[in-house]
Amino acid sequence: MDQFIEQIVTGLSIGSILLLVAMGLSIIYGSMGIINLAHGEFVMLGAYTAWLFQSHFGLGLLASLVPIFIVVAAIGWIIERFVLSLLNNRPLDTILATWGVGIMLQQGVRLMVGSELRYVQLPQSLSDSMDVFGLSVSSYRVFLFTVTIALFAVTWILMNHTTVGMKLRAIMQDRSVAASFGINAKRVYGLTFAYGAGLAGLAGALVSPLKSVSPDMGTGYVIDAFMVVVLGGVQSLAGTVASAFILGELSGAIAFLQNDTVAKALVLLAIVVLIRFRPEGLFTTRVRA
């Protein structure tokens, strides 16, 4: 029984990291139709910014979360403004363009900071462990889970209860009609991409104490996160949450029963089969236009 609960907690922990990365990707893909292959690099930038703040300005991880969000969001905005906004109506080309941007970001960091591993310290207040259901869990993982849920709530409110969110949803439904009502689609797109990038940056900053920081740390995240988005269904934030935790629990469980490689292979196969039979994702009821 203890082992079972431990598995569930491990799964939740994997799931919350997945969700953090996938949320930004889901917003960008769901609303702009852009497959952002540079998303992993935003995660990496977030982690490097955390390291930079810590080693050069002595700022702790918790204190630097907001500046990290702003820095990575600004980079995202610039990329949207000068690269992606030129690619209207060419969705497949955005895959290529964002991949190129990703290479540039990765290589840029490698040239400027070097490719050796960097480490970010856990916040002092969260370095011990706490008791959850009679099980000792690291406080930081609980914190991670809480922050993820909080960020999801913020995103959900932004999308559904603010003017910007309403404009974005209007553009998603029909861009030209929305534009004729005076909505500046370009501006909203820029903000959306910046927000998604900022979320990825936060994800990177938050996982940085758990893993070592390196220029290519992001590549693994994109594919996993993308699978989450596909499984959850495009344009469905709640679906993204559910699928992140399902994938987290699933890979945790299979990894426990078999090994990591088999877990990865089986999850990927499951996703291939899923797309075949439900290309709209598990959790959407909307039929594709």
Binding site: A97, G100, V101, I103, M104, G108, L111, P279
Partner: protein
């Protein structure tokens, strides 16, 4: 252009292919260095792989992010056959490959048995990728999955195969791949990696795959495939079985990629899981986009030039890092401003040069033509 007859248009399209192939065949006359020729042969093989992607992506509209899967299958088929041909020094007792002996495998696994015949391996290296692609294509296209989802499914399938190969070390050589191979010997010709024979073999395959791919784009099936790329449902309303055509072009492209994979094993003298890795697969997409996805010759040259430049510069580590940065920037610029790649640029320049003497006439004609084109 109404003045051009069908025949001269065929000539205009065929000429670049023939010129490029002639240059490839003439290379050994200029490059008198076997080591360099081997390197060039490697880039030519990657060029064939890129041509195969241009066929499915540029002409079929199927962005296959797992193109390296077919390449890898071909490469492993060749490597397995050549491994079983090695002299007993490299293989264990009873003809077992050395890595199997190290992993305590007692008998040759059943799927290795047929590869004792070189003929089987040569056929399998082309047919097997085609069959796998046809099965995957059947799975994908029969359910009318399109666009990005096709890319994800192909990418995921390739990653799964890659993971399986790395995981099953005792049967596949795992992370190290299959090394220490014998040399290919067909009809008494030994294809040593650093020999002219290998180079001419590669050059012939370049010509063959360019011509086969070109011939396909000119057939009726090839035209239907291009129509599907431009407007899938319209073709479906005409009564064509869209999925069947997509599966066919997908499998044909995989067969060419398999051929390239086999050649790669001969040129590199090993097979490795990286041959069906994400890195290579995405690089092929880049080469194809830079060269021009809707031009077979363009895609081929894109691969040879970009991979060649990368190879030439990779000798100094500091330069390689800067180069990767420049590569990324170049690639973004090409995607943004040259959606048809270098081939499209060359075509535009050619038109501009060709039309200059008749500039006055053409302004009048041009108006009529655009109207015609837009209806």
């Amino acid at each position: 252009m109404s003045s051009q007859t069908g025949l001269s248009r065929l000539g205009a399209q065929l000429a670049p292919i023939l010129i490029v192939c002639a240059i490839v065949f003439a290379l050994p006359l200029v490059l008198n260095n076997d080591f360099l020729l081997n390197k060039v042969a490697r880039y030519l093989v990657l060029g064939i792989l890129t041509v195969s992607l241009a066929l499915s992506w540029g002409f079929g509209g199927i962005l296959n992010l797992g193109q390296a899967m077919s390449f890898g299958i071909g490469s492993y088929a060749m490597a397995m056959a050549l491994k079983l041909k090695t002299v007993p020094v490299h293989t264990g007792p009873g003809g077992l490959p050395d890595f199997m002996v190290w992993n305590n495998v007692a008998r040759l696994p059943w799927f290795w048995e047929p590869f004792k015949s070189l003929g089987f391996a040569l056929v399998a290296g082309i047919i097997l990728p085609a069959l796998v692609a046809a099965a995957l294509g059947w799975f994908i296209f029969r359910s009318r999955v399109t666009g990005v989802y096709v890319s994800i499914m192909t990418l995921a399938t390739m990653v799964v195969l890659n993971l399986v190969i790395i995981d099953q070390q005792s049967y596949t050589g795992g992370f190290n791949g299959i090394t220490d191979l014998a040399q290919l010997e067909v009809f008494g010709i030994v294809f040593d990696t650093y020999s002219r024979a290998t180079f001419y073999l590669v050059a012939s395959c370049v010509t063959l795959s360019l011509l086969v791919a070109f011939a396909f784009t000119r057939t009726k099936a090839g035209l239907v495939v291009q129509a599907i790329r431009d407007h899938e449902s319209r073709v479906r309303y005409f009564g064509y079985d869209v999925a069947a055509y997509q599966i066919f072009v997908f499998a044909l492209s995989a067969a060419i990629a398999g051929l390239a994979g086999m050649l790669y094993t001969i040129v590199m003298e090993f097979a490795s899981p990286t041959f069906l890795g994400v890195q290579l697969s995405l690089s092929v997409v880049v080469w194809c986009a830079v060269g021009g996805r809707q031009s077979l010759v363009g895609a081929f040259l894109g691969a040879v030039l970009v991979a060649g430049m990368q190879g030439a510069l990779s000798e100094s580590a500091a330069f390689l890092e800067t180069w990767t940065l420049i590569m990324g920037a170049l690639f973004v610029l090409v995607v943004l401003f040259l959606p048809k790649g270098l081939a499209g640029l060359a075509h535009d320049i050619w038109l501009w040069i060709a039309q200059r003497p008749h500039a006055v006439q053409d302004t009048a004609l041009g108006v009529g033509q655009t109207r015609e084109g837009s209806t």
